[in-house]
Each structure stands twice: as structure tokens, then as C-alpha cells.
Amino acid sequence: MPLAKTESYHLVSFILLFVVSFIATMFKLGPVLLASSVSALAWNYYFIPPHYTFHIAQTDDILIFGLFFIIALLNGILTTRIRRQEQLVREREARTNDLLQLTKLLARAGHSSEITDVAISQISQRFGITPQIYIQDGNNNLVLSETITPDISEIVQLTFRNQQCTGAGTSYQSHSNHKAFPLTGASINTGVLVVSHVLSESNFDQNPLWDAFLVQIANALERDFLSRIAQKASFLDESARLYRTLFNSISHEFRIPVATIMGASDTLLNETHNGEIRLELYNEINTASRRLNRLIGNLLNMSRLESGFLSVRRDWHDINDLINKVTNELEEELKYFNIIILVADDMPLVKIDFGLMEQVLYNLIINASQHTADNSEIELLVSHNIGEMIITINDNGSGFPPEGLEHVFDKFYRINDSKPGGLGLGLSIAKGFVEAHGGKIHLENRKEGGACFTIWIPTEDPYIEQLQTT
């Protein structure tokens, strides 16, 4: 042993101290204590004269030995303590990070099913267990999956009812090997989280993070619940409003033509008038019944749209046929208007649902006639582009008020000053039918005054060149 022979055994003590400090950075307190004792004794035995005995000859060597022992011990203890603290800090940081991560993911999850997915994956990442989450349906009834076993079902129901942690290791149902935790938000019992087949030695729920996780999950679920309740409330509100509008406008709009018919027919029955007056009364009855018929048609069309079962049956049609049909039907209504029809010369056949497009044009032209003064001009232009037909309906009335532009296609929306005779459904039906064709409808006010409706309808190219074949 070459070092043993040197006289500088004090140097050796420093090397040993270094080794002990080094050990302290890596091991726990026990090994550190052992290392400091062993190194002190080894130093004494091998290096302090007389060698190979534990006897120490010189008094200052005894002092140095004592000091060495104490320094090694202190060094070891202090280093370990610092290490332990550092580890605690690191653990706390990891916990904070995990919690942060969970909070972030939960905040991003929209629907309750997404929230439970996030919760389950985060818990299994952090705690190494895969729980199940059962949430309530909004009426305080838990939604249980069909595959749930009866014992889990029982424990889950109990937990939900009692709002108490139930199952293995708790005061309720302690014989069970599952453990369920209530997910209670600030005001709503959102559901239950259950860990099945809990091992007796696992103590995941002793982790301070566990409760924090549960609280976060419960809060996220509660948030989703509350937002859905709010949505439902606003939906109910909206449909109640629609019903009110519907009944108000129906009773109002229907009463006028009915009143006309009753009044006119009653007069005809009870009084004798000359032929001219009678003719006028007959005309009034006729107009009123047409108006009633139109109202019913609009209601039926709206319900077709609302039902979601509107089928578009496209076939090849000559757009002139369509325009003809509509203008013929509206002959009476357009008596006092100047209607200009311009169809592109090279207009090909178009593949459309005749009945639906007929209704679209009918409603738009009726609309134009209702919002313009008599003797106004209504312009109907039809052209085509690659793969689409473009229909434009212009009038030279006063146009729509700017604030109304975005609402005109809403159900039951009516411009305040519009002439009576509508439910405010015509334009929304037109829009619905255009969209059923995969097309678009747009309204703007023209610079020169009046409204301009533009419709784009996608259509295939016909395989027959327009009217050239013989």
C-alpha cells in the first residue's frame, strides 16, 4: 500500500472526505453515515500511525480523527438534506405541471365526452390507473354504459346518491374491490369516477394531486353542463318566440282574407247591387282566396324545409318554361307592374327541381311586387357561367333598409313598412330551396335604387348543344 507508507496521511483524510461528500450526493442518509464511519475507521486503521491498529499514538491525531469523523458526518447529512429538499421541489413542480396540463386540456375539451376522455388519459398517465367516468344526463340520472358490471353499477349509484367516496378502503362497501369518487362541482353533481379492481397496496388517492384532479374534472364537467343548460334555455326561448310569431302572424294574416271573403259574400247574399258592384265583390273574394292559398302554400313549404326531408329531384328543364309558369301564375299580382324578362340567347338546359325553383322565383317576384309601388319595374335576368346558372331579380323600389339586409332571409322577418299580405316566410323559403340545390342567394341594394337578388344554382352541362340539334 504505497500511500500508507507516506507520512502525509493527512492528505488521505481529504480524499476520504471528498469520497464521502460524493456519496452523499447520490445516496440516502444511511449509506452516507455508513460511508463516513467506515472511511474514518479505515483512515485510522491504515494511515494513522501506528498502522494496522485502531490505536492512535499522537494526541493531535486523535483530535484530527475526531474532527474528520464529525466533518464527514455533517457533510453527509447536510448534502442529503439539500438533496431531499431539491427533490421535494422537483416533485411539487411536477405535480403543478401535471395539474396545469390537466387544466389546460380540460379547458380545451368542449363536450363532456371529450372532457372524460382527457380526464381518463391524464389520470392514467399520472397515476398509472385507468378509471371509468359516468356522468349524469342533466336530470340527475347517471348514464351507465351497457357493459357495466352489477357490482360497479351499484357502487357508482351509491356514490352518486351519497356524494361520498365509496368502495375499497372506505367506510361504505369496503368489501368491494372497486373504489368510486363523486365528481362534485360547485353546485352540480356531475357524475362519478370509478377505479375498478383497486390493489390493496395502491394508494393513488393519498396523493395530494388526486383530489386536485377530481376537482378539476368535476369543474370542467360542470362548466359543460351549465353551458348546455344555458343553450337549451335559449333554444326553448327561441322556439317559444317562433311559436308566438307564427300564431300572431297566422291569426293576423289569415283573418284579413277571411274577413274579405265573409264580408263580400255576405253583401252579395243580402243585398241587391248592380252588376258592376257584384263583379267587384266577386273579384275581392277571388283575390282574398288567392292570398289565403298563398299563405297556406308558404306554411306547407316551410314545414317541408323544416322537416329536413326535402328531396331535390333534378331534371333537365328549359328555364323559359319556368319563367313562363311563374309569370302566368302571377299574372293577376303583376297586373300593375312592368316586368322585364331577359334570358341569355345561348342559355343551355339546366338541371333543376322545377317545383322548388318555381317557388323560389314566385316568392322573389311576389316580394319585389310587395315592396315597390305600382307601375314599378321588375327585372328578371337569367344567364349562365361554367357549371352554374345565375338569376338576378332587380326592382326599382326603395330597396331594403341597411339594418334589414342580413335579416331578410330569417323566418318571420318582415320589414316594418311592408305591405300587408305575408308571413315573412317567402324569402327564407326561397333561400332554403336555393340552398337545397347547393346554390347561393344574395341580396343587395342597387346603387340606382331598389333591391337586387342574385341566385347562383350549380348545374351540369347538358350533352345536347342548346337547341341546335335537328
Binding site: 282566396s289 292559398n293 329531384r313 331534371d315 333537365w316 328543364h317 328549359d318 323559359n320 318554361d321 319556368l322 319563367i323 313562363n324 309558369k325 324578362i341 334570358v343 338546359l349 322545377f354 317545383g355 318555381e358 347538358p462 350533352y463 345536347i464 342548346q466 337547341l467 340539334t469 335537328t470
Partner: protein, 227 residues
Amino acid sequence: MTDQPTILIIDDELQIRRLLEITLSANSFNVVASSTGKKGLVDAATHHPVLIILDLGLPDIDGQEMLKDLRRWYSRPIIILSVRDSEDEIIRALDNGANDYLTKPFRGGELLARIRAAIRLNENRNDLPIAEFGSITLDMVNHSVYKNGELLKLTSTEYSLLCLFVKNRGRVLTHQYILKEVWGYGYLQQTQYLRVFVAQLRKKIEENPSKPTLLTTESGIGYRFVD
């Protein structure tokens, strides 16, 4: 019994029956009305009506079935008068042998016109070789068409189309029927041909092709040639 022609109305709505009775009686028809399908079938057999007006929504028998039943032996015109206005329903009724179709609400004048056209069409089954309508003269012996006395140049398809319409004037012809008669069974889906040739024919025979008065469109169903 009067010598006025009898029309049978089969409709379960009292008000519609009454309205039809008034309208038709005022126009020199003898009217028999039935409120159910079963009674209607019996009335059709006992009263020998020249025409039947049938509602599709009867309480006891489905209208389309009723139509098929009647058509087993009744060859005179049947006009459907119904609230059902879907194209499918109308086409089915026409396929099942209805001569015409009107949806409720209807105009009395229009109904009378359809009734008269249907009866006339039925009575004049022996077609005259020369038909005249408006400014158009169709000479089926010489295969020529004149407009205001001038010879029109029609392609053979246009000519057969026109003949088909003229033979069935006053009656609505479904797309399928026209395609089958003029082009043949292989062309049942080729509505494009039909549209193109109808447009061409209109250009030649109509005064104003964009406002046809002779050859009118029945939306989603077919065409009708006025008489």
C-alpha cells in the same frame, strides 16, 4: 232521367261536392255525387256517367286503387281532383289511367274547361286527318303543317311530336309517355331531348315562343296541347 250528360263526383268533402254540383248543374250537366269509394263504384256502374271526378283522399279506398278499379271497365274520362299535389302522385294517377289532374284549390272555370276538353276528346276518337288550331293547320294525310297558310319545315321528330300532341289535345302527357311514344323505350330518361325538341317546335308553331299558348308546360309532369 234528363238527356243531360251525367257526371259522377266521388269526394268525401260535402262542401266540395256541393260546389261542384252547383257549378256543373249550372253548366247543363246532370250530377251524381258519392261520398265514399264503394258507393262511387256502384254509382259509376249504375249511372253511366260521361265523366268521373275523383278525389284521391277517400275514407274507405285509396284513390289510386280506386282509379285502377274503375279503369278495369270504365273507359270514359276520369279527372282527379285532389289536395295531393306532389308530382309523384300526379304522375302515378296519370299512369293509372286518369285523363287529367287538378289540385285543390282549383278554379271553377279551369275545371269546366278540362271537363269539356276531356269529354270532347273522348267523343271525337275518330281523328280527322286535318286538324286546325289557331293559325296552325296539321294535315296528317300529307304529313304537312301550315302556319297562316304557309308550309312549315318540321323535322320528322318535331312532326311526330306535334302529331302526338294534337291527337291528345287538351290532355296532359307525361314526359315518360311522350318519350316512349316518340323516341321509344330506350329514351325514357332522356328529358333533354324532349326539352330541346319542344323548344324547337314552339319556335316554329307558337306566335311568341317564350309565351307559348298552344303547347304549355305542366311543371314537373309533362306538356299539354291546348285544343
